[in-house]
Amino acid sequence: MNDRTLLAGCGLEAGYGPSQVLFGLDLEIRAGEVVTLLGRNGMGKSTTIKTLIGGLPLRCGEVRFGGRPIHGLRADAIARLGVAVVPEGRQCFPNLTVREHLIAFADRRNDSAAPWTLERLYALFPRLRERAGHMGNELSGGEQQMLAIARALSTNPRLLILDEATEGLAPVIREEIWQCLAQLKAAGQTTLVVDKYVERLLRLADRHFILERGRIVWRGSSAELDADRALWQRYLGV
């Protein structure tokens, strides 16, 4: 383990009821890095994220964040340490307005010099400014996705986790998100990304993990991944 390691999961085992989904999974994310978690549908990417952020109890293994064990903590405590997630399926609050989504949880959990403020978030997603007074469930699918990303950013997290965050977004917006992530990375934001646009992720991310049936079957840098197209065929279905 590196002293720059921000998040480390070690020997993670978890599942739903009788069915086990993760089988001794190891991964670590270093501060300032962008890391991806890749794999086919149903391989356990979202489950891994849930176990990391306290949404699903660990059956075995441990999770450390900034060096301290967090696998005993509740999800809200982990979140307050500076982990923010854009979950699968957006999960916007139907009874909060767009603006309320962005101020209710706003915080400064990292020490960024240029923290995300309401204004900056609106600047990132002008659509949201137009819809500021709308309720979460009055938004289009893509608008909800933008809102979920903005909501996560509003906490100024130390670790940002995006689970299929570009899902349902128009290609232009998707591209904007990538560029935004690149800027964030430049500003030192640590990020864990799950997404299906592997090609695009190569440019953005530093390292990649490939997940197959609850185990990490490959790990390496973008260059290594780019070089080994057989991997793509075998594990990513491309």
């Binding site: 209710a104 915080d107 309720m135």
Partner: protein, 306 residues
């Protein structure tokens, strides 16, 4: 019918409306905002009334009585929340109805064992027991002015808390999606406990204030439950503003029905029919209003979520 009478009845309607809002305020918070169906609201209201009545009698200070009622009820609510209610947040409304109905059954028997089956005396603070002259020829009970003020104050406070504080937003977030709220760092459990206890405090406050103008007895909580729910539902579940407007609407409609309908019908219909119909219609005015609103707007006047 002179204008003073009209003004007086309008005032009565508004006053009754504010009283209804006061009764419904705690429930608005717990049921409307936190989405937890709490029939035991009535029991907390009863507890507030009983404690206030007893403390007032013993201490002769109405302020102390109200404070004690709120304080003791808050303690009881903490225990209730810890033992039972917190296990209900994640359940569906039906389970909440059944469990809190069970609490009512237990609470009623407990109060009976503690204070007997007879109504107890809740005296009015002497200073407020008479009328004040609002306009020439229009006396108005001083104590009702206090209720009116309390209703307004609670309404404003609740509105600000729910709609304009981060706490209010977090409560709403937790109510609609507990998991996601906790992913955002909200201590949902604590926030909910706090809100439940606040709701209980409001219930006790209402009970303590209502005691001097109503019967403090077992079952008094159940009697206010339906009007309180009617107000919340007409307003649109989850909307403080809706509940407030609905309370005034119900108050005015109900009062108008009682004040003007029977005389009006007497001028239009044969006396026997008018005598039967007038009070009957006035009696169901509240329900007619609710049915009419829901037929036109199936989610109440101001649905909190589209």
């Amino acid at each position: 019918m002179d204008s003073i009478f009209l003004i007086e009845q309008l005032l009565n309607g508004v006053g009754y409306g504010l009283m209804l809002f006061l009764l419904a305020a705690g429930l608005t918070l717990v049921f409307g905002i936190m989405d937890t169906m709490n029939l035991a609201h009535g029991s907390l209201y009863m507890a507030g009334a009983y404690i206030a009545a007893r403390v007032h009698e013993a201490s002769a200070s109405f302020t102390a009585a109200v404070a004690a009622a709120v304080a003791v009820t808050v303690l009881a609510a903490l225990a209730l929340e810890w033992a039972i209610v917190r296990r209900l947040y994640a359940r569906d409304h039906l389970a909440q109805v059944i469990a809190t109905f069970g609490i009512i059954l237990i609470a009623d028997d407990a109060v009976k064992a503690l204070w007997g089956p007879s109504p107890v005396m809740a005296a009015m603070p002497a200073a407020l027991s008479g009328p004040v002259q609002l306009l020439p020829g229009l006396p108005y009970p001083a104590y009702r002015l206090l209720l009116l003020g309390a209703g307004l104050l609670v309404a404003a406070g609740l509105y600000l808390l729910v709609n304009h504080t981060r706490l209010g937003m977090r409560v709403r977030a937790g109510a609609s999606n507990r998991t996601m709220a906790s992913y955002m760092g909200v201590r949902v459990g604590q926030v909910f406990s706090f809100v439940f206890v606040l709701g209980a405090a409001l219930a006790a406050f209402a009970g303590a204030l209502m005691g001097p103008i109503s019967a403090v007895q077992i079952g008094m909580g159940e009697a206010i439950l339906i009007p309180a729910l009617v107000v919340i539902v007409i307003g649109g579940i989850g909307s403080v503003r809706g509940a407030f407007i609905a309370a005034l609407l119900v108050g005015v409609v109900d009062t108008a029905g009682r004040a003007f309908l029977p005389p009006l019908l007497r001028t239009m219909l044969p006396p026997a029919l008018a005598a039967d119909l007038g009070p009957a219609l006035a009696g169901i005015a509240m329900y007619l209003l609710m049915a009419a609103v829901l037929i036109l707007k199936p989610a109440g006047l101001f649905p909190a979520r589209a």
